[in-house]
Subunit: 213 residues, 3 copies
């Protein structure tokens, strides 16, 4: 198995896990089976589509290999029929989800770098690839995206993407950069889960303040 095959396998794995989390959200909202599949697909591949649409990479990568879609649909059907069983393995799903987060962040950041973006652009592409599917999922069920309010999640992806940019600028091989970036994101995310790390939250203030736009 070559390096790029290894990353391709991880990419497929992350897609499946993300699709499963999307399907669970659909189950929580009691959507019908189509809704479950739509949330599976967009959570699984939505981040990559968003990235490619913003970069102008046509057609978006997932359309060139339909195995991504079949994985999402498979994951969605699995959850639709066996949600209560999978739920017992939720801690495992969350660990796998951290792997997907790291792989997607590294892949998205590298693509942004290859398209000539600067450091902030690379961070945005990495983070968007990693959490964009989840944000679309949350918007579709009319929730405030979890990544904006809780947990150390998107931040892990952003730091991984930043690491990729630094590795590339330092002249490292892109395979090495990917491993560094993905590993950093995964480790940060798992540590944050274990130690319940949260970012500081904005405090509401009580100064008299008119309705604002």
């Amino acid at each position: 198995m070559t390096g790029s095959e290894f990353f391709f396998a991880l990419d497929l794995f992350g897609t499946l896990i993300f699709a499963i989390t999307g399907a669970f959200r659909a189950v929580k909202h009691e959507l019908d089976i189509l809704g479950v599949l739509v949330l599976s697909v967009f959570t699984g591949v939505g981040g990559g589509i968003l990235r490619d649409v913003i970069l102008g990479a046509y057609p978006p990568a997932v359309f060139t290999n339909e195995i991504y879609f079949f994985l999402c649909i498979g994951g969605g059907l699995l959850v639709f029929f066996t949600a209560s069983h999978i739920a017992r393995w939720w801690n495992l799903v969350k660990i796998f989800d951290a792997v997907g987060l790291g792989v997607f962040a590294a892949l998205g950041a590298l693509k942004g770098y290859e398209y000539g973006l600067g450091p902030i652009g690379v961070i945005m592409m990495g983070t968007m690839t990693a959490v964009g599917g989840g944000v679309i999922r949350d918007i579709l069920v009319s929730e405030i995206p979890a990544v904006l309010a809780t947990d150390f999640y998107a931040t892990a992806a952003a730091l991984g993407a930043l690491a990729l940019w630094a590795c590339q600028v330092a002249g490292l091989d892109s395979g090495v950069s990917m491993i560094v970036a993905a590993a950093l994101t995964i480790v940060l995310r798992l540590l944050a889960m274990k130690f319940q790390v949260h970012l500081p939250r904005a405090r509401k203030f009580t100064a008299p303040l008119k309705k604002r736009r």
Copy 2:
């Protein structure tokens, strides 16, 4: 009237009907006249714009012929000033809406096929063209998109798009494929309305389950 003129007329008709449904949603939320027009326009042409942005078809088709926009604005103004009258014809609007659904699904699927997508991609493009405007409308008024939770609606579009793909792969003329796809979608949607067909919904389960991402 040639075949493509016929489809162009149906496309305009579908755009107008979709715009009317968008305007009604705006009225329900008591938006101002600008909000009514924005929902009219995005419900009418949003699905097509979304499809073209994902396919990388620039500029999106509706920008090349502004009659689409004028129809949306006309439909929006009509609803703004006469909503209570049009509401009496709601059953007719729903039947016309099924026609729009079928035409948009067929057009979107054909465009996806022409851009070289596989079967899932073609289904996504057809369905997105058909229901994307409605999804944007629902997101803008902060509702969970109706197509994810209720009715046999997007599914009819998806099956029509699949039929188009099958017809094209079988070597049929694209005009014939379009008619088959649109007719299938329309008939399925009308039958589902008449017999109140619903897809199975996900059941919430009560297994102990921690907050999940």
Copy 3:
């Protein structure tokens, strides 16, 4: 300072102000610091990214000069740490916001015109550039976008964009067109604030009406 430098400075200024309003919304929802920065960035540059994605202008303009991002992040941090102080200057922020609205509307409309769009397309691009960031912000925190329901805000941008189209069609220099469009939007917005102008709102009607799609 040349004319284009002047507009570039105004563009940066508008980006910063928009970022500040985005950060305030995040504070209102008690997001964490990442959420504050995400809302800052997308409110500041989201409208321009949306415009460039629809026009097919790659990479979106903000990615070619990262100063936009740094301004957004700076504005977000400022609000995160000093929100209650800035809130006392809210009336000034709203006036500055009107300047940003005008500049963004003019820039977006000109870009739409240069890409060959017709009058409605130019109005859409101008308005989308001006209010798109705010709409993304509102969607992310699961609110109905304010521009659809209240105030004379997007309408000022739309009329400015229409003015730009008229000036360009009349053969005026694009710098002059920009000044006319931006000034018109700013003046209309400030007058609307001063005199509390609102567009007519749709009235809900009580005719018996079944659940509609």
